[in-house]
């Protein structure tokens, strides 16, 4: 599909380019007929030399940086009366190529074709001992596994390190290839029928990790296959008149994961089978050192299908208002067969006479099932009425609802095998989380002056949730805004918004009895009564925004933006079991703030030279209160002196400056640009003095990454249709990231707890490159 689409597009490009060239040279077409045609296009051939530290995957994360000749860009446009053809190709035959083509008759129809390749490169420093077998399994040399099993823990660790020295490189990357076709047909005046289809392939590998032996925390990281296809199609019909409109759209999206694993002659869809580096034979928990499975069965994303139907209608009310309504029904389904609980044959049968199964329903009277039968209905309605009945008065009234109605049955797992090592002994519930969000509100806008608008509004947002700690929450939101254009050369937009969210009740132990993740642990992991999850907690929010653009004359422009959003999760007054308010320590996110401002400036020194500069800074900060809860005699110990606080602060700054100059009008141009994007992240942790694990509360090293770019682009037009270019780009990416920089296949030297773990050791190195570029652009 993709190769065919690509070949068709390229062939079409070539054909039309040839046709255009022939017509340009054919004296027979120089008469009246040709004058009705407009044919134009351009082709840019570039040559680039790359110099410097260019080995980092980050340089080509989403693009190819070619070294040598390449077709940088090609476009072609043809029009005759109402008919037109447009073609555009960028970076043809490169990893990030993009081709677009369209053909149509204005007012009648249009067909669009597209093809796009987007690489995604995680890292090119990874190394692994795994090889992929024909069956899609990730396998290891049997002698190595025999050797490590025989050594057992802890001797296997140093030996694993020696094996990992010989790990072979693996590029962690995939590519997303998307082919699209869309068509639109004007059935009759203002009635349009359209359709679209896209086929997206993702092919490659990505890094995944799994815990191989839970109690020891051993980790195996592997290059997991990415073999995804997503097909999306839609048809729509619309009438859009001057007084009213009505439209409907029906769409479907099908995700298919072609990744399979196999074991002992059985194939498992949407899964990968991974050899255990430490064992060649199965063992039950506690029966041997490093007891675990010889192979792990890891679930990959399951196939799923989503369908939707949208209906939109609207009508103008007099000359001053409009009523619009939108309803949408959707359904997401996933019905994959369940994988086995484990490939570990040494795990004994559970005591439950029904065996180790997934039950549809509860533990006592559930029915064993082999497929998921997941289905979610989504429903949306939106109704709004807006208008300006008086010149100085406008309004908007709206109501909106989004319903994530999960119709998947409740399941109970009679038991499960943790980390492929052994039965856990706890039945678990898999609950169909569902939620519904309703927004209702109204805005009133006053216009005391022609170019001054003042608006105030109120909105209420309600959440209803199933199977979470809060069932209902309500947020009252008040809004105000000023939009002022005192003169044509300056505008100001300022807005403020404040919201207060409260829940009806917060049940910390909602699922304690239902054994659902993450709650439901037996005594040692009992829930923390003082904790409030930040996405559910009571919250006070304040948001301020300001944007001003000032252009006093044609030579000078100036803009400034400011944004500040603060959230305070204020749950200091909690309610005890008797409903009595009490003040306790509150754990969880306490507050966060995102604040930033930016300025930009341009100056036209004369008709030939424009100078510009911009600067922006944004800072995100959050405070989270936690508690270290050591386990003593099987119970978690709650002591307020074991509370600790984490303080996160991320700051990003962007500097930019440049000049565009016409050195010789219509002949020589020069563009010079430089920017620096500087990001820093701080993560501190503070313990209450005397806390039980104070030594464990350390400030993490600062994370920093900085992108610097400088470019010079000189263009010369010896002829009207010909442009020659000379360019230079310096690009530097400096990253200091302790989370990633430390990574090697064997991490036992950093954390002894990983002495028997095998990582990919993928890193993202810094780079700095010099790109020298020449180009020839010809317009026809």
């Amino acid at each position: 599909m993709h190769d065919l689409g690509r070949i068709l597009c390229v062939a079409l490009l070539a054909l039309l380019a040839a046709l255009a060239a022939v017509r340009a040279q054919d004296p027979e077409t120089g008469g009246e007929a040709a004058s009705e045609e407009q044919t134009s296009g351009s082709v840019t051939i570039e040559a680039q030399a790359v110099d410097g530290r260019n080995e980092s995957s980050k340089l080509q994360e989403y693009r190819e940086v070619p070294n040598g000749f390449y077709l940088g860009q090609f476009d072609f446009a043809w029009a005759k009366k109402d008919w037109s053809i447009d073609l555009e190709a960028v970076d043809l035959m490169q990893d990030d190529e993009r081709i677009k083509a369209s053909f149509g008759r204005y007012g009648k129809f249009r067909i669009e074709l597209g093809y796009d390749q987007t690489p995604k490169w995680f890292s090119n420093t990874a190394r692994t001992l795994f090889t992929e077998s024909d069956e899609g399994n990730l396998i290891l040399p049997p002698p190595m596994r025999d050797d490590l099993q025989a050594l057992g823990s802890p001797a296997a660790g140093p030996q694993l390190a020696r094996y990992l020295v010989g790990a072979h490189p693996v590029d962690l990357r995939y590519r997303r290839d998307t082919a699209t076709v869309a068509a639109e047909w004007t059935v009759k005046n203002r009635v349009t029928l359209g359709g679209s289809y896209s086929n997206e392939r993702r092919d490659g590998v990505r890094p995944l990790t799994l815990a191989t032996y839970f109690s020891a925390g051993d980790i195996t990281e592997f290059a997991a296959p990415v073999d995804f296809t997503t097909e999306t199609g839609a048809v729509r019909l619309e009438y859009a008149g001057r007084r009213w409109h009505l439209g409907g759209e029906l769409g479907v999206s099908h995700f298919s994961n072609d990744g399979t694993g196999s074991a002992d002659g059985t194939t498992f869809d949407n899964a990968v089978v991974v050899d255990n580096p430490l064992r060649a034979t199965d063992a039950n928990a506690g029966s041997a050192a490093n007891a675990a499975a010889a192979r792990f069965l890891y679930a990959l994303p399951p196939d799923n299908v989503a369908t939707f139907f949208d209906l939109t209608a609207g009508a103008r009310v007099g000359a001053w208002g409009k009523v619009a309504a939108h309803v949408s029904f959707g359904r997401s389904e996933q019905d994959e067969q369940f994988l086995p609980f484990s490939l570990n044959s040494a795990v004994p049968a559970p005591s439950d006479p029904r065996g180790l199964v997934v039950l549809r329903g509860n533990l006592t009277d559930g029915v064993p099932v082999s497929r998921y039968d997941g289905k979610v209905n989504t429903g949306v309605y939106d109704l709004r009425f807006s208008g300006n009945p008086l010149g100085w008065l406008g309004f908007k009234v709206f109501t909106r609802s989004y319903d994530y109605d999960n119709r998947t049955p409740e399941y109970t797992v009679t038991d499960y095998i943790r980390g492929d090592t052994g039965l856990e002994g706890i039945p678990r519930a898999a609950l169909p989380f569902a939620w519904k969000k309703d927004n209702h509100g109204a805005d009133v806008r006053f216009r005391p002056l022609e170019r001054l608008g003042v608006s105030v509004g109120y909105e209420q947002e309600r959440w209803d949730r199933e199977f979470r700690n809060t069932r209902e929450s309500t947020e009252d939101i008040f809004k105000a805004a000023v939009d002022w254009t005192p003169a044509g050369w300056w505008t100001v937009h300022a807005s403020a918004r404040t919201g207060e969210r409260t829940y009806d009740a917060y049940d910390e132990e909602t699922f304690f009895g239902e054994e659902s993740f993450p709650e439901g642990e037996p005594v040692v992991n009992a829930v923390v009564l003082e904790q409030r999850l930040f996405d559910l907690a009571n919250r006070d929010q304040l948001r301020l925004d300001l944007n001003a653009e000032i252009t006093p004359n044609e030579h000078l422009g100036f803009g400034v933006s400011f944004s500040d959003t603060r959230n305070e999760y204020d749950d200091r007054t909690l309610v005890d079991e008797a409903g009595t308010p009490e003040v306790r320590d509150v754990l969880g996110r306490l507050e966060d703030q995102t604040i930033g401002w930016a300025v930009d400036l341009y100056f036209n020194a004369n008709e030939s030279i424009t100078l510009y500069a911009d600067y922006g800074i944004e800072r995100f900060e959050s405070d989270v209160a936690s508690r270290y809860r050591p386990v003593t005699a099987g119970a978690a110990v709650d002591l307020s002196e074991n509370n600790w606080l984490s303080d996160i602060e991320d700051t990003t700054k962007l500097y930019g400056v440049g000049v565009n100059a016409q050195l010789v009008p219509d002949r020589w141009t020069l563009d010079v640009h430089a920017l620096v994007s500087d990001g820093k992240g701080r993560s501190d942790a503070t313990f209450v003095p005397g806390g039980a694990a104070a030594g464990d509360a350390q400030d993490f090293p600062e994370v920093s990454n900085r992108l610097s770019q400088a470019s010079v682009d000189l263009r010369f037009k010896p002829r009207k249709a010909l442009t020659l270019g000379l360019g230079y780009v310096y690009e530097e990416f400096e990253i200091d990231d302790f989370y990633r920089d430390v990574m090697q296949p064997w991490m036992g030297g950093v954390d002894s707890g990983t002495a028997e773990s095998a990582f990919l050791g993928w890193r993202i190195p810094s780079y700095d490159v010099n790109l020298f570029r020449v180009l020839v652009n010809y317009r026809f």
């Binding site: 994360e61 796009d116 999206s253 994961n257 939009d483 300025v599 911009d614 508690r627 978690a636």
Partner: protein
């Protein structure tokens, strides 16, 4: 529809009611060209969509303007009109497709009009939407300067590489979703490219299912995977029950380096594995 009929529609249907209201008469485009040839030529160069339009389709009856010798104020100038009034003229034709939710939208409510972003006479780049700036991103950054800062962060979607634009996720002409998203919810928007996360799955992670924004910043982050913070701190916003989640941890720890908590709990978006209760399979 043939060209002549199309012109007639624009001239008569659009301009005629205005002419009746003002008691003015049409002058025809030919009367405009002697003075505004450059503006007309710019239109012609922008393809068939506007090449056939009569000047008075947008600028209204021009006879008074011609008679006055081009006196300012005798004809509509969209560039000098309040944005909402200029938008009303564009909306005479552009009512279909992704513009149906314009009335009452955030931009419309704050006096951002069509001419704030589009220029039919002097578009800055070659984008078919006739933008005032060279690209969609630059057009949006004109007001949303903080997004320019965010998009340049190290962990980002391929916007600056030209593979995505703001309008892949947002509809500036209005939508029924918060943030002017093109799809019906935050997650539905994300599933357009990340359908592998759509599920549902046997074991779900509720905050994931409610909003991807609980953990990710789609405009960019200094942390991998566009996370709003790095594990374990990100996870410790919610998971402090006991045992290993409740400890702050040191930097040289498998609970911190590489993917932190996700080193083991790698099915954080949901698992369909019967043994995947802890997001580990």
């Amino acid at each position: 529809m043939c060209r002549a009929a199309w012109i007639a529609v624009h001239a008569l249907v659009l301009a005629a009611p205005l002419a009746r209201a003002a008691g003015e008469e049409l002058a025809g485009s030919a009367a405009c060209l002697p003075c505004h040839a450059e503006a007309a030529a710019a239109l012609v160069h922008r393809g068939a969509d506007l090449a056939d339009a009569e000047c008075e389709s947008c600028h209204g009856p021009g006879w008074a303007h011609v008679e006055s010798g081009g006196e300012a104020g005798t004809i509509r100038s969209l560039a000098k009109m309040p944005a909402r009034e200029a938008a009303a003229i564009c909306r005479e034709c552009h009512t279909a497709g992704n513009t149906v939710h314009w009335e009452g939208s955030t931009h419309e409510q704050h006096d951002i009009g069509c001419t704030s972003c589009h220029s039919v006479h002097n578009p800055a780049g070659r984008h078919p939407a006739l933008l005032t700036k060279s690209s969609i991103q630059e057009t949006c950054y004109g007001c949303h300067a903080m997004q320019r800062v965010q998009m340049m962060r190290s962990s980002h979607m391929p916007v600056r590489e030209g593979k995505l634009t703001c309008t892949d996720c947002h509809n500036p002409h209005g939508s029924v979703t918060e943030g002017l998203l093109v799809d019906r919810s935050v997650n539905d928007n994300c599933y357009r490219c990340h359908a592998d996360k759509r599920g549902p799955t046997l074991f779900e992670h509720p905050p994931v299912r409610e909003s991807c924004l609980n953990c990710h910043n789609p405009h960019g982050s200094i942390h991998e995977s566009m996370l709003v913070a790095r594990p374990p701190r990100l996870c410790q916003n919610c998971h402090i029950n006991s045992r290993h989640p409740s400890e702050p941890r040191t930097a040289a720890s498998r609970f911190v380096f590489n993917k932190g908590c996700v080193n083991c709990h790698s099915q954080i978006h949901g698992s369909n594995h019967p043994s995947g209760i802890r997001a580990m399979r």
